[in-house]
């Protein structure tokens, strides 16, 4: 009788012990108890050209938007600014035209792979496009109190269950969300959520707020796909170098 009870209690204990793990997707490989996001990832969408629904055009692949509800809640003045950006995009897009750092979240959906490096203590994201780097500080420290503005913002990460949540602030007002001229100010605040749904997919969401440009926060979401090719690794897309080679190939310039 006593033996039975011990076995029974043991069984209940085992079930209680495993239950939380069941809730945490047991199929996922883990690092320090969290889903292992290590690897090379890329989107399969056209958000880099336009984050909203758009038809095809010369040099622009058609695509379904990634904005929830497809509407971006611009303040009235900003609607005109966005239209102006769109009209001038061939030379005004800082990323496409000048190879400047693409900002967040645009770095995620550039048509290039990126690498997530995750240890039990640290996370970093390295992008193939113009070798952009984002160290994500995970130690619970607040964003630095600095007036300095950053192209890629400053990232502070934390885990909410199995979701990596990255809070990005300290931006400048120089980057665009896409080649269609969607823009923001230096008050941009992005909260990204990376949730692994199976070993080869991450659900990516970014909540975007900017009280100078939008009337309310809005959200984009998309899947990230693991680059599963054998031997996959991040290579180099040295945009700045290529651009200089093109622009200055005949320098010094003569009449």
């Amino acid at each position: 009788m006593n033996k039975f009870r011990i076995v029974f209690i043991g069984l209940i204990g085992f079930l209680l012990w495993t239950a939380p793990l069941e809730a945490q997707s047991p199929s996922l490989k883990r690092v320090g108890g969290k889903p292992d996001l290590n690897g090379i990832w890329q989107v399969l969408n056209t958000a880099a050209w336009d984050i909203q629904d758009h038809s095809g055009a010369l040099g622009t692949p058609p695509g379904l938007g990634v904005v929830e509800g497809n509407e971006i809640p611009y303040q009235p003045w900003a609607v005109a600014k966005k239209a102006q950006n769109f009209a001038n995009r061939a030379t005004a897009d800082p990323t496409e035209h000048n190879c400047f750092l693409p900002g967040v979240p645009r770095a995620t959906y550039m048509p290039f792979p990126f690498k997530i490096t995750q240890t039990p203590k640290d996370v970093a994201i390295s992008y193939e496009f113009t070798h952009t780097l984002r160290p994500i500080v995970m130690d619970g420290s607040p964003h630095p109190e600095t007036p300095e503005e950053n192209w890629m913002g400053i990232s502070r990460g934390r885990w909410e269950g199995d979701t990596l949540v990255v809070d990005v602030r300290n931006f400048n007002d120089q980057t665009w969300f896409d080649h269609a001229g969607n823009f923001h100010s230096e008050k941009l605040h992005v909260i990204e959520r990376y949730t692994m749904t199976d070993p080869d997919h991450i659900r990516y969401e970014a909540t975007i707020e900017d009280p100078k440009v939008f009337t309310r926060p809005w959200k984009i979401s998309m899947p990230l796909y693991r680059v599963a090719d054998k031997n996959a690794r991040l290579l180099e897309y040295e945009c700045v170098f290529y651009l200089q080679e093109e622009r200055y190939k005949n320098a010094p310039f003569h009449e």
Binding site: N38, K115, T119, D122, T132, L133, N150, V240, A251
Partner: protein, 319 residues
Amino acid sequence: MRLFTNSTSFIAALWLVAIAPAHAQTPRPAAKAFTPAKLADGQPEIPNGIWNRRGVGGLDNGALEAQDHRPPNPLDPTPANPLSVSSRDDGLNNVDRGFVDQFSEKLGKTPQEGQRGQNRERRQMGIAEPGRILPWKAEADAARRAFLLKTNPAQGLKYVEMDARCAMPGLFFGNGPFQFLQTDKQITILSEYQHFTRTINLDGRTHLSKNIKLFLGDSVGHWEGNTLVVDTTNFNGVTAYSREIAYLTDALHTVERFTLVNADTIDYEVTIDDPNQFTRPWKVTGQYNRADDLPELLEYACAEGTQTLRNIFGDPPSK
């Protein structure tokens, strides 16, 4: 955004020389063997933190141009300047970082850093060749000297170094800060300078095909005890070692050795093999030191603000 300028490091170097007392090196007792923790995949654990590097490459001492190659420059070393390297006929300026650092260790620092300094092994930094003279092939040395004469002022885009162009400088520029991240069968090195990432695969894979050429090359590695050995090929032929060695060719092959010495020190050695330019491989020794005063890597935006090429060449003609 953290900015580094050559002029500030040069002024710092002058200042150090001005106030540093002459000193003789005293041998230190050998440090006891360091036993790093082991990670799940068997790798020795590189102590967590931010690291600076010294002894390697050409960024720091760029102000110390060798006079025999270039027109006079107010920043050039002179015989009266103890940092002068111009009297040597190797034409290299990248060897004195260790010299400066040795002085800097003597200077006022926080007690904690002083203690850390005591743990440092004295190490000869820079090019580890007799007389610091590189084994140039005669024709490659002549081509290099002819090249350098066209760099100031630059007579075309290729005479402007990658660092000044805000383009990827390769493995040998930048003294940090760096961060090492270790994951399963892989080491990732993050560099604040030029925001680049190096990936060193430890899973036994082979190098990429010759058709893929990279500024940072393709790196595979393995551990030999406490030493990480990294073999890198697939360079693109526009990697500089320093301002004086402006281009290594795409035949470049490097073998780096990162040895964990203690919780704050990684000894570094790189063997540089470029058979197109040198009669044999040559070595450089350096060191990574943990930098506790730097809490995190910041953004290094360079191409976004640079006017360098416009200042040299003017605006490109509009199409």
